[in-house]
């Protein structure tokens, strides 16, 4: 495979400061099609900030971000989240980020209507809902949200909110999903379900993932590549088995918190 076909996302030498805090310090990565890259690291390591840089929510102070589109490498550094979303990069949030005053169904509808740019097409106000109905059903099914589809966002459990958050991004048919701690706060069985979900999305839609994750079992279960971050820097970036071999070094360094 040529480079351009193989890769979907690239970051090169990203830096971000918040005042004196060097939140992201010289981070580079390359994500291949269908790859699952996990990022681990203690609180404050810069994982969320890295995802924010990739999805355009935060602008880097230095470095570039690229996506690969039909074989072309496209520089998206500093572009708006809005623009980056339409290039196929979706993301979920550490604290589930949904619409509390809308039902689960309307949450998903909104996501699809936005993606298809049907929100303010007055002339199509009637038909728009019908056009997306089939897709809405599919998303509800994939994420097993049938039991809660008519409940309001504010009425959902933590696990359901997490799922809906990811569903909102996935409904936009992304090539790349950036998931911030998708299993945190979930019960054991919900975690298994989430792992299965990530795998099936990868398998069936060739979605590539960057997953920030605390649970090492989950990481070893799903990842193709593993990155360890600490105080903004990359300590290791390799296949999970290789990283685990280095784990003693790293855990000494991190006080055993992560690995």
């Amino acid at each position: 495979m040529s480079e351009a076909v193989k890769y979907v996302l690239e970051a090169s030498e990203l830096h971000k400061w918040f005042g004196n805090v060097h939140a992201v310090n010289n981070v580079s990565l390359k994500l291949s099609r269908g790859e699952i890259l996990s990022i681990v690291g203690p609180n404050g390591a810069g994982k969320t900030t890295l995802l924010n840089l990739l999805s355009g929510i935060v602008k880097p102070d230095k470095g570039r971000v690229y996506v690969y589109l039909n074989g072309d490498r496209k520089d998206i550094t500093g572009r708006s989240p809005y623009y980056i979303t339409f290039l196929g990069v979706g993301r979920s949030f550490q604290i589930p980020n949904i619409f509390d005053g809308l039902t689960v169904r309307d949450n998903i509808r909104l996501s699809i209507l936005t993606y298809r740019r049907l929100i303010n097409r007055f002339n199509r106000a009637y038909s728009s809902f019908n056009d997306v109905e089939e897709e809405v059903e599919k998303i509800i099914e994939i994420f097993s949200l049938e039991d809660s589809e008519y409940r309001y966002g504010r009425e959902l459990s933590h696990g359901e909110r997490k799922k809906l958050d990811i569903a909102l991004s996935f409904a936009q048919q992304p090539n790349i999903l950036l998931l911030d701690e998708p299993t945190s706060g979930l019960t054991y069985s919900e975690k298994l379900e989430m792992v299965e979900l990530i795998r099936s999305l990868r398998r069936e839609r060739e979605v590539s993932f960057i997953v920030v994750e605390h649970d090492l079992d989950v990481v070893r279960e799903v990842s193709d590549m593993l990155m360890v971050m600490h105080e903004g820097s990359v300590l290791a970036y390799d296949e999970p088995d290789e990283v685990v071999k280095m784990s003693e070094v790293i855990s000494a360094y991190l006080g055993g918190e992560v690995i």
Binding site: F93, F99, L102, L110, N120, S128, S169
Partner: protein
């Protein structure tokens, strides 16, 4: 299939059937009062598209009511235009005010947005006072023609337009655009991350909301036969906010009821006490604490209790 008749629509239609019949049993004075009630209801519904549905508190919506009322009155009385041209003038004025103030104030949200809309509205008030030749200054504009000229007939003109616009609002909030309003209200950051053009949705809501107020103002000027600058003063903006909160900002029905009954609360309370503004303040504070969803919210809670829910 998407726009199922729901309880809110049933309630609205029942209310409007009542409003169609009731004038037959009222004195001219009360039909006139009810006409103002309908226009306040329309104003509250329009205001609530922005406030309850899009999550933006404007403290300057009197400027849209005035743009409609003054636009029409200037056209009819000062420029001697025919009614259609006068309406067109009022709409043009409203659109200009809405786009300019919307563009400038929607860079901000929450209290900053409220303060900016207040500032713009006061600017327009000052303009109305200053541009005496066109607006009549403090004295306002008199002798605005009314058609049909009798209050009873004019009531039904107001009624039809308010009915259409209120049902339209019920419908709008159920379209994809209405979903967009609510998403922006609930979580603008997430909406943006999903690719929604949040500023544009806010601007659409602002302009739409302004047009509702403007049409209410346009119908008000002939009803009253005269307009004075107090319809542009900030206290009227405050009244628009208050009546919406009293009725309930959760839906179209709540806002409409708030506007409809406000004129009665206002006249009753003014008869009862000289400390009306203080009383109003207390009522409002109590409502915000005890019944955040207004009168309609209380009613719903009682219903649920009765049904044993």
């Amino acid at each position: 299939m998407m726009f199922k008749i729901d309880n809110e629509l049933y309630s609205l239609i029942t209310l409007f059937i009542f409003l169609a019949v009731i004038p037959q049993f009222l004195s001219i004075y009360n039909v006139r009062l009810l006409s103002v009630g309908l226009l306040y209801g329309l104003a509250a519904v329009g205001f609530n598209l922005l406030y309850g549905y899009t999550g933006l508190l404007s403290f300057g919506h009197a400027m849209f009511w005035s743009a409609g009322a003054y636009g029409l009155a200037i056209g009819l009385v000062k420029l001697n235009l025919d009614p259609l041209m006068s309406i067109l003038l009022a709409f043009t004025l409203t659109f200009t005010v809405a786009i300019v103030t919307g563009y400038l104030s929607l860079r901000h949200t929450e209290i900053y947005f409220a303060m900016l809309t207040l500032a713009f509205a006061q600017l327009i008030y000052a303009l109305i006072i200053k541009l005496r030749d066109i607006t009549g200054g403090d004295e306002g504009i008199y002798g605005i023609p009314r058609f049909p000229s009798d209050i009873g007939g004019y009531y039904y003109l107001i009624y039809i337009i308010v009915f259409i616009l209120v049902i339209l609002a019920w419908w709008i909030v159920r379209t994809p655009l209405g979903l967009g309003f609510q998403a922006v209200r609930d979580n603008p950051y997430r909406a943006e991350a999903l690719g929604l053009d949040v500023r544009r949705v806010r601007l659409i809501s602002f302009v739409l909301s302004g047009f509702y107020l403007s049409i209410a103002g346009m119908l008000y000027a002939p009803l009253n036969r005269a307009i004075t600058p107090d319809i542009a003063f900030w206290t009227f903006s405050a009244i628009i906010v208050i009546m919406t909160i009293i009725g309930g900002s959760k839906n179209v029905l709540g806002a409409f009821i708030g506007g409809l009954i406000f004129i009665y609360i206002n006249t009753q309370a003014m008869n009862l006490t000289e400390f009306w503004q203080l009383t109003l303040g207390i009522i409002l504070a109590l409502l915000v604490y005890l019944a955040p969803y207004g009168i309609v919210g209380i009613f719903e809670r009682v219903l649920r209790y009765v049904r044993g829910g």
